[in-house]
Subunit: 351 residues, 4 copies
């Protein structure tokens, strides 16, 4: 351990998002992976042997040598990044929080629970206030903070400046989502080669409710969902990384195209002001080319933390339509949680 | 020539849609290809040598041996199927019509022209009446009839029963279109492998205006566009054949989900009544599985002439949302024109 | 049951090869599916509910309604098509054979067993003689006949005419195999999109030994492996159906290119003479185009039962090199077993 | 211009390889792009407007603003990187060399010319001696140095240590090549989605003759081709970047598997000794996993300059077989030429 770094643990370290956590934490200036856990069959093995590593960079050497621990709070560091399937998270995350751990979760299990903050630091950092009412925090000092679904994050980053400047009345989003969003092995090649799958279980519900929670307001210690109408349609396509979304919106206040683009380009928020290590210089970037953004070429902007927007044009049914893409396992999962952890640390929640 | 068949010609016979024409006409009970034309550099060569055949069935042997003619009305049969790029169609189609030919066109060049019928036989067979006012027809007996863009046809087949039963107020469609829609060589593999391209030139405009013309009414010898609001967003994906569309609608009259599905399942129209040779038994088929329709598995239903619909569910912004797919080079191009020709013949326009 | 048809059963009916069996048997003139079995968790459900159907044609309606039986000889028809994983086949196939069933197997479990015929009807129909020494046959009347691995069949169809006419001395084959060869879910999309996997477990060993058994001779009631040197390298590529192989050979007798092509084009054998229902008119077809065969365009020739060969040219290390493709789940699996069954029936083994 | 850098020009700057040149030169410690040329229709426009940029990193800002010059020696820098189609290179490269320029070419046009060095710096740096006999060099001081075809480079990097330690007697290679090797637009998506194309024009001939020239010896001022037997079969697959090759070899001297792996792992050569800026630490890396190397995961090792080898195992026909992959537009094209330029500079040829 480097003396100046805070030890962290990773729950669900062998999955695709767990791998991204290790990759992103490899050279992190504040945190260092000191512990990792996965399913029982991996326990006790060295991480490098337990994992089927699916990223293009090599396994971080420090993590490679760590033994896979049992998914148990005993002996785990205080700060835990969790990349678990929802059914397992529903059981384990409360257990770690109750034992005094700060659980920074990518799972959907607790996202919509009333006293659990669902946070994108650029969008609703102030929702962390809800932690004060969270029962675990009051009892053990532990807590759970979550980030949204991979398909909601890019959308909400694009919507936040519009909500701030003009107010949102209606939002429709149709997604074309990458296969890495389903984990590994995830989507079978026989299902997706030369195909589109117009269905992802529970994804539309998550997008619709999470979007409204993220853009909601803190009232009396809990989050009041935003009131705009919202509809999502989710499709899977043969792309490795990067969710593309075709979006239409109706704003409360009339806005011209240049004003909207200006709102995106000028958008900066708490993570940029605090210069959090994983914060991109620009959370949203508008690309002027007529055929961008595209996942293959734009997914890695801002080291995968920038949502790229393009093709703003009038919509004949609502008011404006545009395309947004974002990296589903970086900005949409591991990077999202990491930025939450950085925000929590900067605001003293991890002391 | 078989004595009981009507000779037809194909303009643009070497392109992807031209190839589909030859494939679909190979064993057609009424028509027989007697003449074909392509670009100048192919002239005089045997078709089999001039074409880069991209379909899975072999080149029809009759067509293979035909010489590629000059794209000139002299010596061409009276009935001409045209599969030309818009810029060339704008010049050649009027020339053939003025010379007395029945031009059954898949091109966008003349589709929106006031006196040119834009027809899907199941949807608006009665629009053929407009031909009576078409100047070519009055002067030379020739005429031009068009079919819609490949992305509009599947959508409009799904919309037509809704318009009939409940009336349409608003329509939003986001497409995920196959690469064959761009012809050959068309989309470069470096552009689409592992990618989504959120832009197809002029496609959204075509979808929006053609949909309203198709569902419009004949008034005083021309077509009055339908009045509903319409918005399209068009994307290209790594699929060979089959356009997938995520659609939301608001209806004029309240309708339950079962009524809507019933409207689709019961939908039959002129081509089915007339038993036109290329008419599918069911122009629209609703698939009850939660993850269908999918282009890879459903594109060939009804020999590629059936639009498959699925996933009907309430929409939080409009009223209902669903997915539709259709075969873009069969129902969306060559099969569309062929069915138009069959309708024209059945109604005496080709005598 | 149609009175003139022989009832058959399918073991492993829900897998990809099991599905192909049902598809190919749907309108078979001799056989009719009367029984099917799969894993325990499917038992008792209707087939249509137990299967995740992955073929483009609909589930055959007769099979759809059949209940999934327990994988047990009691009550099963005498003739059993088996599409089981090797480890399960090793246990179940002997059990069915011992109980008097004719097991026509696609599994690798028993292929190399000395008294089990490994047969491609066009290549080594006479190997069925080995059945006379098979212990199950002598005891219960039951027996096991196998077909080769999907990667060996196309190769051996191309090699057989060369062996007949010129003799084989050395054979090298490098495969580019379709994902359907790994079953369903099989290859994860994250493993194969935009990728080549240069490894398929045990595949090279199977190709090398099966090729020599197929082209071997019956001596004293068992098969003597052919003596030529053989080397295989197996790769997985992002293709749905159709294995492509780059092959080099050294022949015993000098042969010119035209003689070799003539040997392929003239190749006809027992199944063609007996006019077996699934026998293609041409087991091997040479395609003269410089860039064929290609899986996407040529895999369905002869209803998926023809191996397509092309690009014959001199090899600087051995003597000749060429490309061969064949359909891995039709000619390479279900169609292979079906043709074996037809051969067995025609030769009285199923009476 | 930075005062300490040498100005260079790029011929064919808008193609895929030209783009790689600009990307790799963006932060090069020795060279700086001062001039670029492309086809006539691009002349005079800013590079950013003339190019259809297909790389994932943005257009280098310096290059973006450069005007596209006419492909003419007047005003061009002394050092020219050439990324031209063979037919154009055949005309332009001699013209630039005759005018006194050092032409570092990626084209096939002059590669096999007797007095033109074909160089991989790790393999045959000493072949540069041939320059002394090159007529252009003697007349104008200009010269042409070439690098091999993208499919030959990875192979030859893997073969060179074997030739050094054990001697080569026979080499067979079957390639599975990425679409970027065909340039842009290059391979049509309709040709390659779900497909393998078993043919690349002139590729096999290039691989066979270039491999022998690269591993040949300088004798009397020219290159004597190496004497081993060589056979190549070339296929195109749906991969973006990275050529995969299945290789078999027969060595002159018996070698064990560990010795061979050791030869690859220990392989270092002139570029590593001279610490050339683009030289990878390891020109060849052996990956021990049973299913590696794979283009999607291994293509970027050594910043795209390392050839990855794996799966060494005995071959039943020759002696050993293995898989090699390398990045076709970095190590196989732009990076190859750049490393040649660095070698030339380090050895005083560019002074």
């Amino acid at each position: 351990m480097q003396p100046n770094k805070v030890p962290v643990g990773v729950l669900g370290a062998t999955g695709i998002v767990g791998q991204r956590f290790l990759q992103m934490l490899e050279r992190h200036p504040w945190f260092e992976v000191a512990w990792l856990a996965a399913s029982e069959r991996s326990e006790g093995r060295a991480y490098a042997e337990a994992v089927r590593w699916r990223l293009k960079t090599p396994i971080p050497s420090r993590a490679a040598a760590l033994p896979v621990s049992s998914a148990n709070p005993d002996g785990a560091p205080k700060i835990i990044f969790a990349a678990l399937d929802a059914s397992i998270a529903a059981e384990l995350e409360p257990r770690f929080a109750a034992a005094g751990h700060a659980v920074i979760s990518n799972s959907s299990a607790l996202r919509m629970q009333r006293d659990v903050p669902l946070v994108i630091p650029e969008v609703n950092a102030e929702h962390l206030k809800v932690l004060e009412c969270q029962s675990w925090r009051r009892q053990s000092g532990g807590f759970v903070v979550t980030n949204p679904n991979c398909s909601a994050i890019g959308l909400v980053l694009a919507l936040a400046p519009l909500e701030q400047h003009f107010g949102l009345e209606k939002v429709m989003a149709v997604t074309m989502q990458a296969v890495s969003g389903a984990g590994y092995p995830g989507v079978a090649s026989l299902d997706i080669l030369g195909n589109v799958i117009p269905y992802i279980a529970k994804e539309e519900e998550k997008m619709e409710e999470e979007t409204r929670k993220l853009l909601g307001q803190v009232r009396d210690g809990h989050i009041e969902l935003a009131g705009f109408a919202m509809s999502a349609q989710c499709n899977r396509v043969a792309v490795e990384d990067g969710h593309t979304e075709s979006v239409s919106v109706k704003l409360k206040k009339k806005a011209g195209g240049e004003e909207i683009i200006e709102a995106w380009q000028q958008f900066r928020a708490v993570p940029q002001e605090l210069r959090l290590p994983s914060a991109p210089e620009r959370p949203v970037e508008y690309l002027p080319s007529s055929d961008r953004p595209q996942p293959r070429f734009d997914v890695d902007r801002g080291a995968g933390m920038t949502a790229c927007v393009g093709r703003l044009r009038p919509c004949g049914v609502l008011e404006w339509k545009f395309t947004v893409i974002s990296h589903n396992t970086i900005r949409g999962a591991a990077g999202a949680a990491l930025l939450n952890a950085e925000l929590l640390k900067a605001q003293g929640y991890l002391d």
